[in-house]
């Protein structure tokens, strides 16, 4: 029998990015014995790559900002498909989560009066992104990493305390294990370094595994993004929501080929960069959709004035939400007005002095200089869309982040609902903190509730997990995992990419089914010790499963909205706004079901102009609002009291602080 290391914890967090670390810190602060498990070294999770900033309506730069405006922007950005409650919690709690990071030692860039500075970003009405140059993700992860270490030092100093926080780096979870009655009982995986198997026995598991971008050929995502958490959740019996929505960031590098897809941060545009086609035209003015018309400048002069006087001018169309900009670039290239290497031009060189560019965008300067021999202070960059973020994810309860399987929680990019059909830049980093903390608290509360009756991992489930993990060694001269991965990436890029069509999606499903069969015959050579071919062979199964969900949901949704554009259904359809597509696994097959989107309470609907809502909603939905107009306003406390039902909620929110100039 294969040897298995057996460990036992109260809460196991899978993932050490922003969401995972924040969840683990919270669980430990609740006195739980907590483990954080991650595929890479500690402090190197994908979050480290985030550049632009974390969105939180602190109102430091423009005092008019508050959670309500942030909520509105988030809903607009997501084309009103967001789960309203997640968007609400996020907007309210984000400022506290950012301030809290300062108490852990983070050093954000400052305003002249010493507060956290905030920058403009696409879709955000006011400067809202707390940042550190263009390395905000690094600051976030390092701060949380150091907080974990600080807690470990406390634990070292008090060996008798209840809680603890242990990090298991370079350890990949391949299966969530359930007990006989379907509750989470543990997580099974292998240590990359030794190839040894490890079983974490725990009643509460938080998924914080990030996204799925490695299934695409052109992506800004790292190797970790193989959709593990999405697949683990599906196999454990939970469901995924909104999987058809994949964000293509408008500005990835396009040249040289080996760096194609690497991100060019949106701050380049937020700080004044403009998009130009081969004719030198600022083409974004031609692509402002009706729903956003009133909020964006119509002339270059007005757009340019906005940077200095945002109260009296409308914002430049370069700062439209990402889906709009990505589609516009795609259209320009298709129309033959692209740059030499199939992108468009992004220029800061004519907009700011060289020294300002080097100070405000240091890593972009560095990145282009080192990787493309381009000096962005002297010439424009070439950019094009790149797969960046998945809006879809585990279907969770907004307040507790609980999935439908008892004991399973999900936060961060792996969770779905918060961003609707399209995420605004900066809303992910704050999402990680807000829902990471909630997940940690809810997992701790759940542990307390089952502590008298802890689930046991059935040995048969462990044996099955071992067998699946070792299968690639048993197969001889089968498929090469690297070749399969490349084929998968090509299929997703070509057939389930930024613009979709029914016939192509159907073709993609056929190809994915073939790949799934071939993946069963994948074989690897060598030993179990740090063997990347074996790691990839196991990741492939997750990538294929999640890709199938994306393709199936994309075929099902017959409209265009946010990160889902259908050539054959080019318009947004209010009837489809009321529907969430939910993927689950029956046996070996992915099923997609329709589910009504939870209706936004009237108090929140009222934050919007009714004319704006008309663009998104059916008259039937708006009737509530109209009949309700005459009644006296219920006030914000009504929303709070009415919607406060979740578990694991503690501490204050930012509510009371709006309007103050903190």
């Amino acid at each position: 029998m294969t040897e298995i290391e057996r460990l036992s914890f109260d809460v196991v967090v899978i993932g050490a990015g922003g969401a995972g670390l924040r969840a683990a810190i919270e669980a430990r602060l609740h006195g739980k014995r907590t483990a954080v498990v991650c595929k890479s070294l500690f402090g190197k999770a994908h979050t480290v790559m985030a550049e632009g900033g974390a969105a939180a309506a602190m109102g430091n730069v423009n005092p008019r900002d508050n959670w309500k405006v942030h909520f509105q922007d988030t809903m607009r950005g997501g084309k009103f498909l967001n789960h309203w409650r997640m968007a609400e919690l996020h907007a309210k709690e984000a400022p506290d989560r950012i301030w809290e990071l300062e108490t852990y030692g983070a050093l954000f860039d400052r305003t002249p009066d010493g507060k956290i500075s905030q920058r403009n970003f696409g879709g955000h009405q006011y400067p809202r992104l707390a940042h550190v140059g263009d390395r905000t993700g690094l600051e976030l992860i390092r701060t949380l990493q150091q907080k974990v270490v600080a807690l470990q030092q406390e634990d070292d100093a008090n060996p008798d305390s209840d809680g603890c926080i242990e990090v298991y780096a370079e350890c990949t979870i391949t299966e969530i294990l359930l007990d006989e009655i379907g509750r989470v009982a543990g997580a099974f995986g292998y240590r990359r370094e030794s190839g040894q198997f490890v079983l974490f026995q725990a009643p509460a598991v938080v998924l914080a595994t990030g996204g799925i971008g490695k299934s695409y050929k052109v992506t800004s995502n790292s190797w970790e993004y193989t959709g593990d958490g999405h697949a683990l959740a599906l196999r454990a019996g939970a469901s995924l929501v909104n999987m058809e929505f994949v964000q293509f960031h408008p500005t990835g590098m396009v040249w040289p080929p080996s760096v194609k897809g690497i991100l060019v941060t949106e701050s380049v545009r937020g700080d004044g960069g403009v998009l130009l086609n081969s004719e030198g035209r600022r083409f974004m003015f031609d692509y402002v959709p009706d729903v956003f018309r009133s909020q964006y400048a119509e002339t270059e002069e007005e757009a340019d004035r906005w940077y200095d006087d945002p109260d009296n001018n409308r914002r430049p169309p370069e700062l439209l939400p990402r889906d709009e900009v990505a589609r516009a670039i795609n259209a320009e290239v298709k129309a033959g007005r692209g740059s030499p290497h199939g992108g468009v031009f992004l220029d800061v060189s004519t907009r700011m002095p060289a020294e300002v560019i080097r100070r405000r965008l240091p890593s972009m300067y560095h990145q282009f200089k080192e990787l493309a021999d381009v000096d962005i202070t002297a010439e424009p960059m070439e950019v094009g869309p790149t797969c960046h973020y998945v809006m879809g994810g585990v279907d969770v309860d907004p307040d507790s982040t609980a999935a439908s399987v008892p004991g399973l929680f999900a936060a961060g990019e792996v969770a779905g609902g918060m961003h609707g059909s399209n995420r605004l830049g900066g809303n992910s980093l704050s999402d990680l903190l807000v829902f990471g903390r909630r997940a940690g608290a809810a997992a701790a509360a759940y542990h307390s509730s089952v502590v008298g009756d802890l689930p046991q991992v059935p040995e048969s489930a462990v044996a099955a997990a071992v067998e699946t993990a070792l299968a690639p060694f048993a197969t001889e001269s089968g498929e090469n995992p690297y070749a399969l991965q490349q084929e998968l990436q090509q299929v997703m890029n070509d057939l389930v990419g930024i613009i979709r069509r029914a016939d192509e999606l159907e073709q993609a499903l056929v190809r994915l089914a073939e790949l799934k069969e071939r993946a069963k015959k994948v074989s690897v050579t060598g030993g179990r010790r740090y063997n990347p071919a074996w790691h990839l062979a196991l990741d492939l199964r997750n990538m294929l499963l999640v890709s199938e969900c994306v393709a199936r949901a994309a075929l099902e949704r017959k409209e265009s909205r946010g990160g889902h554009t259908r050539d054959d259904y080019p318009d947004m359809d209010p009837a489809w706004r009321r529907i969430n597509l939910v993927c689950s696994l029956r046996g070996d097959t992915v099923v997609v079901e329709h589910r009504p989107l939870p209706a936004m309470p009237v108090e929140l609907l009222r934050l919007f102009d009714i004319e704006e809502l008309r663009k998104y909603m059916t008259e039937e939905e708006l009737a509530v609002l109209e009949s309700d107009m005459t009644e006296s306003a219920i006030g914000q406390s009504g929303v709070e009291a009415g919607a406060e039902f979740g578990a694991g909620r503690s501490g204050s929110t930012a509510d009371g602080k709006e309007g103050t100039s903190r």
Partner: protein, 251 residues
């Protein structure tokens, strides 16, 4: 434009290993990590290498390329002469796990020994006011991506395993400096700690660490040298440190 190039890569584990020759296709604009990936996909599927972002941001892909400590994802093939053999070996200062992957746990252990950030106890979230000029010095050190190239290069530990016990290394010196210069850190004895517990005295300011830092952090000039100053005129009482029990490990 693609050409065939000669690569020599160290293959093996802690029991031993050797340089293995490969001929591999290289295309315009590629970096060393691209070539390693092509080798995995075509000739050496189990070639162990650590990487994450492929954008110089995570500090995972450190190795020695033609003897120089570098990030594989930020080393363009165009820096080598067309007929030059590219030799890639694992970081020398850390124990090998397999092929290009080393055991860097030493760095994490040393990080766990530095007393954590200590903010004023009565200050509440959101009340912090700090001026940009005051945070800038620490911000420079917080650019560190923990690639450990400086740790690998420093001669104090590079060929002296025995010094690892007493020497924390340049990465951790700038962590101490960062906290020392942090406007909100209340500990006043960071310099003394660096001298007494981190082995700052072993550093003789050769600046080799600064030279290899991919983030261009001025490790020596801005971090180490200021930490060495003033230490002379203050007394350090190790009993206070012992009393705080910060290093007592869980048994």
């Amino acid at each position: 434009m693609s050409t065939m190039r000669d690569f020599r890569i160290w293959r093996g584990d802690e029991t031993g290993g050797a340089l293995v020759d490969y001929q591999v296709e290289v295309n315009e604009g590629e970096v060393v990590l691209d070539v390693i990936h092509r080798l995995q996909a075509t000739q050496a599927p189990d070639l162990a290498v650590r990487w994450n972002c492929k954008a110089g941001k995570c500090g995972s892909c450190s190795a020695e390329i033609n003897g120089k400590p570098r990030l594989m994802c930020m080393t363009r093939m165009s820096v080598f002469a067309p007929d030059e053999t590219v030799t890639v070996t694992p970081l020398r200062t850390f124990p090998v796990i397999r092929d290009l992957v080393t055991d860097v746990s030493y760095n994490y252990e040393k990080a766990r020994q530095i007393p954590a950030f200590a903010p004023p106890p009565d200050l509440r979230p959101g009340e912090y006011r700090m001026m940009q000029v005051d945070v800038e010095r620490s911000q420079e050190f917080r650019k560190c991506i923990e690639c450990f190239l400086c740790q690998n290069t420093c001669h104090v530990t590079r060929d002296h395993e025995e010094n690892k016990r007493v020497f924390a290394g340049p990465r951790l010196f700038i962590r101490a400096a960062e906290l020392d210069m942090h406007p909100l850190d209340t500990r006043k004895d960071r310099k003394e700690f660096a001298q007494a517990e981190q082995g700052l005295g072993y550093c003789n300011i050769t600046k080799c660490c600064t030279e290899v830092c991919p983030e261009h952090i001025k490790i020596t000039d801005n971090g180490i040298i200021p930490m060495k100053e003033r230490v002379v005129d203050r007394r350090y009482d190790p009993l206070v440190w012992l009393g705080s029990k910060i290093f007592r490990r869980r048994s």
